[in-house]
């Protein structure tokens, strides 16, 4: 079977980009990824995109292909909420492995922060992932749904709000070393605890910001045009859409998705040397790390406190700063973890670079209310 290789990655800074739109951010990231790959537009025969809340369109992939001047033989969009970024990379892997495509561009980006209506309209749009008649009418919000699952998970495993705060502090520390981060002002556990309540137990600093930004990844069948990092495994799980219908409040699907990816790659969580794990809220990262098996139940915060997840720790995590501080620009936000893991594996993470280039990288994205899960494994050739 053909192997799927990473040819290049590209991104914009995250934060506030006045006067640019979805297509601008996707274009900038794509240009950077093509440059990184040493490729031109003509090399791309597959185009995959997600969705943009700032530019809802029935055919975003076709729209972008036309806009950027691409002529793909395979092209469409995907919608899996925050899991879309990793889902797109998984699909690119499948297209390359099957021989359907030679080189697939995955592009994402939107001006989620500065778009017309801005933050409030995004918050209202996102809240619609709740059940239209049995959740949304209660005034539930995305932080509210995550507040609910946080309350249950914390009670089950004895996790405190101070524990969760450790993960926010960690992400901010990491973001300070990345020139493209949205939020870089240092914060402490006390700062997180003192930040205003949003949806208990979650406070403002437990939540990711809303950002403008773009990210692109190029996956190819041609090893000679790659950088020696391959997609070795991928897996998904989808146990529920709505939190009210989740079969469990401690097994959300991250575990099964990761197990499928590990099985495909012939690896285990103990083999992972660098990780990118979706962290829309502090509780998201804690649950996913523990459910996937990268930390014991209830231990993610202690691991963070011990320095295990820093660039020089035993398992560097979200060394770009994650959604919590690098920023969240929709589909691109969930792809930024992937780009960072690739950069660590290529020795291109600049001030954030791990002492030794990692051989095995793990990336996980989730969409909805821990609803849709995609795990990816990367290995050096």
């Amino acid at each position: 079977m053909t192997t799927a290789w990473i040819a290049g990655v590209g991104d914009t800074s995250f934060g506030r980009h006045e006067g640019v739109d979805t297509l601008d951010l996707m274009s900038a990231a794509t240009r950077a990824a093509l440059d990184d790959a040493g490729m031109t537009r003509a090399d791309v025969d597959g185009v995959l995109t997600g969705y943009s809340t700032a530019m809802p369109h029935l055919m975003l992939a076709s729209l972008f292909a036309e806009h950027f001047g691409l002529d793909p033989s395979y092209c469409h969009s995907m919608q899996m909420g925050g899991g879309t970024g990793c889902g797109l990379v998984m699909l690119a892997k499948l297209l390359v492995e099957s021989g359907q495509c030679d080189t697939v561009l995955v592009a994402a980006g939107e001006n989620r922060l500065t778009s017309t209506g801005g933050r409030d309209s995004v918050i209202q749009t996102l809240a619609q992932v709740g059940h239209a008649t049995q959740e949304v009418p209660f005034g539930a919000t995305i932080p509210g749904y995550y507040g609910l699952l946080a309350s249950a998970y914390m009670a089950a495993y004895g996790i405190t709000e101070e524990d969760l705060a450790e993960l926010a502090v960690l992400m901010r520390t990491h973001a300070a070393l990345h020139p493209g981060s949205h939020l870089t002002d240092p914060i402490t556990v006390a700062d997180v605890m003192a930040s205003r309540p949003i949806a208990t137990p979650l406070k403002l600093l437990d939540c990711c910001p809303i950002s403008d930004g773009g990210v692109a990844v190029i996956v190819t069948a041609d090893k000679t045009r790659s950088k020696g990092v391959r997609l070795a495994g991928a897996g998904q799980a989808h146990q529920h859409q709505h939190i009210s219908a989740a079969p469990s409040l401690s097994q959300f699907g991250g575990g099964p998705a990761a197990a499928r990816a590990f099985a495909q790659a012939g690896l285990t969580p103990k083999d992972v040397e660098v990780a990118g794990v979706y962290d829309s809220f502090t509780i998201t990262a804690a649950i996913l790390l523990e459910e996937i098996g990268l930390a014991e139940r209830g231990e993610a915060a202690a691991r963070a406190r011990a320095g295990d997840f820093g660039p020089k720790g035993v398992l560097p995590l979200n060394t770009h700063g994650g959604l919590l501080s690098f920023g969240h620009s929709g589909v691109a936000g969930g792809m930024a973890h992937f780009v960072e893991v690739v950069r660590q594996m290529l020795g291109k993470a600049d001030a954030r670079q791990m002492p030794a280039r990692p051989e095995i990288g793990f990336v996980h994205g989730d969409g909805g209310i821990l609803s849709s899960h995609v795990s990816l494994l990367l290995t050096q050739s």
Partner: protein
């Protein structure tokens, strides 16, 4: 689905929390469907919660998604495991905790689409 929702809402207006129960396999479901999610049977019965339950999850919201709720901040939502074995979202008193026993009631809420009668839980007596 519309007819199912109308029936659910008529019950709510009368102060009754309705859920569906499958005559074929016995499974209960809170999300309305013209069939049983567990076994696919269309032999569906309706039941009403007696009013007792346990808090599975609880959150106090300080930021509202819509104008009707901005006036109500802070307000709480909960996932409640009804004694009948079905989990539902409700409004809740602010000071509840996971595992606590609660009692069900209904309260009207003026939304953009009119008056909704929504279930709410308070600490059990």
């Amino acid at each position: 689905m519309r007819a199912l929702l109308d029936r659910y809402r008529a019950d709510a207006e009368a102060g009754r929390l309705a859920f569906q129960s499958c005559r074929a396999c016995g499974a209960n479901q809170a999300f309305l469907r013209p069939f049983c999610q567990a076994c696919g049977s269309e032999d569906i019965d309706w039941r009403h919660a007696a009013g007792g339950g346990t808090v599975a999850a609880h959150s106090v919201l300080h930021r509202a998604p819509t104008p009707d709720y901005r006036a109500k901040v802070p307000y709480a939502i909960a996932l409640v495991d009804l004694d009948e074995g079905v989990r539902v979202m409700t409004h809740a008193d602010l000071d509840l905790s996971v595992g606590q026993r609660v009692a069900l009631s209904f309260a009207p809420h003026e939304s953009a689409e009119g008056t909704l009668h929504l279930p709410r839980v308070s600490a059990a007596e």
